[in-house]
């Protein structure tokens, strides 16, 4: 059996206690669902201390408040998948959650963990990027709000400072014109080769506030800004969208790894972007 190395264990029962532990414990590593951390430890990662926040009930919520949809960091992927509020106001996040890992993993894995682990393939990131989501980072001395696109700094790297915890994800309710798609090596329980989230609004027959974000094609989940800019104000015809999809190459820098090659990722990104945009446009209900 691949043994987990030993560590100092601290259990937080409230947010206040968690933040205090993070500021006092030496080299703390946070555990929530543990679905990324425990395999990493079996592979040789040796955290000195572990702060267990999994029992902090006040960080498990999905609510509408102050014009925002707010999601507590310990909300599980299963909850996102089944939440009526997420279905209604962040449908592509529900789609991404449904397609993520297995039911066993979704029941433990949390949205905070998915973002803080900062995998380029994190499935919750592309939809959230298209909602212009923000994350609330709290520490014992206060809190700050950071745009999600500034939160990721590279593979496994975020802007979290020592003693900080990502406590909440928030965004303005998204309309119906959203879509998440991913391509993996199989249909179920798969890590993406490429994932795409699209969000569009249509006003007077023209595209508005277009957002496209992709996973697994750059050191971190990224927006396709050039493509977004190009489509702004265009009519949502298949021709325009196909032409635009090629521009995704300007904002991605895929690599070859065990799941796929850089060349294939470049080709398939264009196809997925086109399909996700078409589907998002189809879903727009003119209100």
């Amino acid at each position: 059996m691949r043994v987990i190395p030993s560590f100092e264990y601290y259990r937080a029962t409230s947010l206040k206690e968690a933040l205090k532990l993070l500021s006092t414990v030496e080299e703390p590593t946070v555990i929530a669902g543990g679905t990324d951390l425990i395999p990493a430890m079996r592979d040789g990662l040796e955290p000195r201390s572990i702060v267990d926040i999994s029992g902090v009930e006040e960080l498990k919520y999905v609510k509408r408040d102050d014009g925002y949809i707010k999601i507590g960091c310990l909300t599980t992927i299963s909850t996102l998948e089944s939440s009526d509020m997420i279905q209604a106001y962040a449908y592509s996040l529900a789609e991404a959650s449904r397609l993520m890992a297995s039911i066993q993993v979704r029941n433990k894995a949390t949205i905070g963990g998915n973002l803080c682990n900062a995998s380029p393939a994190a499935d919750t990131a592309p939809p959230l990027l298209t909602y212009d989501a923000e994350v609330v980072l709290a520490s014992a001395s206060g809190s700050r709000i950071v745009k999600l696109n500034r939160f990721f700094e590279g593979p496994k790297k975020t802007c979290l400072k020592k003693g900080e915890l990502l406590v909440e994800v928030r965004f303005k309710p998204a309309g119906s014109g959203v879509c998440f798609m991913k391509l993996g090596r199989r249909t179920s329980f798969t890590i993406s080769i490429v994932s795409v989230a699209a969000k569009v609004e249509v006003e007077g027959g023209r595209l508005k506030n277009v957002r496209i974000a992709l996973g697994s094609v750059a050191p971190m989940p990224v927006r396709a800004l050039r493509l977004e800019e190009y489509l702004e104000g265009k009519t949502p015809t298949p021709e325009n969208i196909s032409r635009a999809a090629k521009l995704v190459l300007e904002d991605i820098s895929p690599i070859t790894d065990v799941r796929s090659t850089a060349e294939y990722r470049k080709r398939v990104s264009q196809v997925l972007v086109r399909d996700a945009l078409m589907r998002a446009v189809k879903r727009v209900r003119e209100e």
Partner: protein, 154 residues
Amino acid sequence: MKVRLNVNGTWFEVEAHEYETLLEILRDRLDITSVKEGCLRGECGVCTVLLDGRPVNSCLVLAPQADGREVTTLEGLLHDETMKRIQETFARNGAVQCGYCTPAMLLVAWYLVKSGVDSLEEIKRYMSGVLCRCTGYVSIIRSVAQVVDEMLIR
């Protein structure tokens, strides 16, 4: 450290290290051997248990995270009518080869039947978290679908 947990309706208090997992508590301390050790990284699903009623990989639950929780394994459902029906259907369809994944397959099947899953696509999606290395998926999925059908008709 001491870990207190309810397994199949009975409370136990066991001594465990922080770096051990629920899988080790169940197998090595409580002799619950339907829960298997497989990949140890949440990919194969043979260590599946129901934690507070929901399927999770017991290899990914640190011992202290199991404290105060309710765990259900196949041993706890042996007298359950739905589970009996699922087991009989697996046997009738030859849905067991080496048997290593079978307890986990049965648990997830039981959970999805109880959750009211009613489409083949959803059955496959739920079952995808347990791997059968004999690759006997066709008869496994057929069995679960048959039970779901019977429950719908009844």
